[in-house]
Symmetry: C2
Subunit: 408 residues, 2 copies
């Protein structure tokens, strides 16, 4: 199977339109509302935050997606509509109702997403005014505008696409996402909308999405934690004329394209980690199980001391040993090898005597891989993460400048 080619741009798949605009939710005047619409019914799959504190739009969308068929996604940035109680739930439902009315579709066919600060009431008058304007602006060229409108602290919009042929038909998989601040999820951290024009059943679409998210967005969920608003949608409207299902021609290629687009977007989130200067792939191999490999990899990827170290020059592998040691993965100190790209820094739990300048040069790259070999079994896992430096603190200490009143 050919590896899918992913491009850093976004053409919408056939039969989709989108729009983005500034509705005044953000004080900055930046775009803050997005709408994506499928001309006809689309199969839909979603994954949602596992946080017990769920934003109102998450609750509404979890309900609406159950049928497996949707027509539209309405999203806003600038307000997460989380920790907003019954009022927030009513507002989220109203967003779906207003969009459904404006589009002439059923309310349950509209998914809603919000991202931004937690605990503030939704400025519903702005949302209400924004919806018809979005409908007016809908265009098959509107992918980038929608992508731009879901940003919060994101330094750049994040989208990507792949095209493939299935049964002679041209198929497109496009995606947009927002997310930055990779550590503990901040503020409705991640939204991702994946769109495609294949025909596929909702059940099979869910299978495809589950797989893709597990290998991509969940592999960068640095704490294994999720914010109150995290949401990934995959919509498939069949407009290409190509049909896919497991076991049949094109299924693997289709799933690979979805995963490749998702991975492109996931790595963009890591790269845009608040203040991040590099992406680090943490590979753990030969753990007792894949689950233990994942525990060890996440312990390293989530260690603040490891991540601050990566922002500096010195390849302080002692902090990596410390992190795997307190992870809940079984570790035999005397067996551990640690590699920085192709250079072994630790052999049998002690320094391998590598040239520290060589290790430092690797650590200074914009992208490098750590490989931690536990030599206890066959388990493996990879987690992608970033370094942490001053900019992270800048962004997060004063993320919300003191307003005149409480977020009430």
């Amino acid at each position: 199977m050919k590896k899918p080619v992913v491009r850093d741009e976004i053409d919408l798949p056939k039969g989709f339109k989108a729009a983005g605009l500034a509705a005044g939710i953000k004080k900055s005047g930046a775009p803050d509302m997005a709408l994506i619409v499928s001309d006809g019914p689309a199969a839909a799959a979603g994954t949602f935050t596992t946080n017990q504190v769920k934003a109102a739009p998450v609750r509404v969308s979890m309900d609406h997606i159950r049928s497996g068929n949707v027509r539209a996604i309405l999203a806003n940035s600038g307000n997460a509509n989380a920790c907003t109680g019954k009022l927030g739930l009513r507002d989220a439902k109203e967003m779906a109702v207003e969009a459904a009315l404006a589009l002439g579709v059923n309310v349950a066919e509209v998914l809603v997403c919000s991202t931004g600060p937690i605990g503030l009431p939704m400025p519903m008058e702005k949302i209400r005014a924004g919806i018809p304007a979005l409908v007016d602006a809908l265009s098959s060229k509107g992918g980038a505008a929608a992508s731009d409108a879901i940003r919060t602290t994101d330094k750049f919009p994040k989208h990507a696409m792949a095209t493939l042929k299935i049964g002679g038909k041209a198929v497109t998989v496009s995606g947009m996402c927002k997310g930055a601040g990779m550590i503990h999820p901040g503020m409705a951290t991640m939204l991702c909308f994946l769109l495609t024009d294949v025909r596929v059943s909702p059940a099979n679409l869910r299978k495809c999405l589950r797989e893709a998210v597990g290998n991509t967005f969940n592999a960068i969920s640095v704490d294994g934690d999720m914010s109150t608003n995290d949401t990934v949608f995959l919509l498939a409207n069949g407009a290409s004329g190509a049909t896919v299902k497991p076991g049949a021609r094109g299924w693997k290629e289709f799933c690979a394209a979805v995963e490749a687009v998702a991975m492109n977007l996931a790595l963009k989130i890591v790269r845009d980690g608040e203040g991040a200067t590099k992406i680090v792939g943490v590979n753990v191999k030969n753990a007792r199980s894949d689950a233990e490999a994942d525990l060890a990899a996440r312990a390293v990827a989530n260690s603040l001391l490891v991540k601050t170290c990566w922002a500096g020059d010195y390849p302080n592998w002692g902090r990596i040993m410390d992190a795997i040691g307190y992870s809940r993965a079984r570790v035999d100190e005397a067996k551990v090898d640690i590699w920085y790209d192709g250079v072994r820094a630790v052999k049998g739990g002690v320094s391998a005597g590598a040239d520290v300048q060589a290790l430092s040069r690797i650590q200074k790259q914009e992208r490098f891989n750590l490989t931690i070999d536990l030599k206890l079994g066959k388990g493996r896992a990879t987690v992608y993460t970033c370094d942490i430096g001053h900019e992270y603190i800048d962004v997060n200490v004063d993320y919300i400048k003191m307003p005149g009143r409480s977020p009430s």
Copy 2:
């Protein structure tokens, strides 16, 4: 029972001597070796890191303390002797042997501790030269010198003492500790030596220490994680003539004094958290169980977004809701109340409409308490932690300046 009065100074209990000096392990020339000796045999209890990667001196001391009787503690800063393999183990044993020879005691009566960077070989020639000099310098006034010599990134030495009367006899409980950098344990993070002159069996001493550590040092172990070198010792030599045991007069008072000294030291560690400007007590109450309360409190105390928020002005309680939501404690969003000291910020999971300036004033204090009421049961827990700002990054990005070679 009267609350023990703890003073921020250190007189050694009767029958103890101590010394600290600069042996040249630290390039800065700062003191880096400490010795504490009891004139006669002392009952001893210890708690050690649960990290699977254990420094060599931890392994040696775990072995030596098994008998419950010791005479001396030899400690160094400037090198953790962790991830140093068989050579490190030999070096740690040699430290005990050299000290035993110089003091005329058994090797198994000497406990050893090291703290500092991980992965570097011990400069044994300096250690060997330092030991007789330490023995020469031993003094009943040497507590502060020893306390000073175990610092690494600590901005100030940390010691405290309490005195009490048991059966008419004056009893002293003194302690010294080192530790800073409260997030993921950095570099052999915490050492604590508690000394007292009561007579008590090793088994009862262990009971007393376990209790005290659980309520103090383990309540600040921000991740529930421990570094490769974390160690707490409690030595009791009986020189006061007072004897204590559970159920008898003075036992509760004695244990309270040990815990009070330990708490004083633990809070000093938090206060010296790298770059910390404040101590925050995170109280969770009415969780389904104490264990769940602890999970929720630690999720808040360990959240980088919560901690960076505390370094700023804005009381962003949404980040607290997010953290308890992803903790493994059961949370019903609609029941949660959150208080900043005496002001309720969240009621039933949404803003309580508190004056944001009032909340901000509380958050700006050097010490404040969060109370999170889950209203699901009777479980409670308290964790003490600190804020995180730029200084943390400064300390940790460049903690080890690039030397000319690998830590080998």
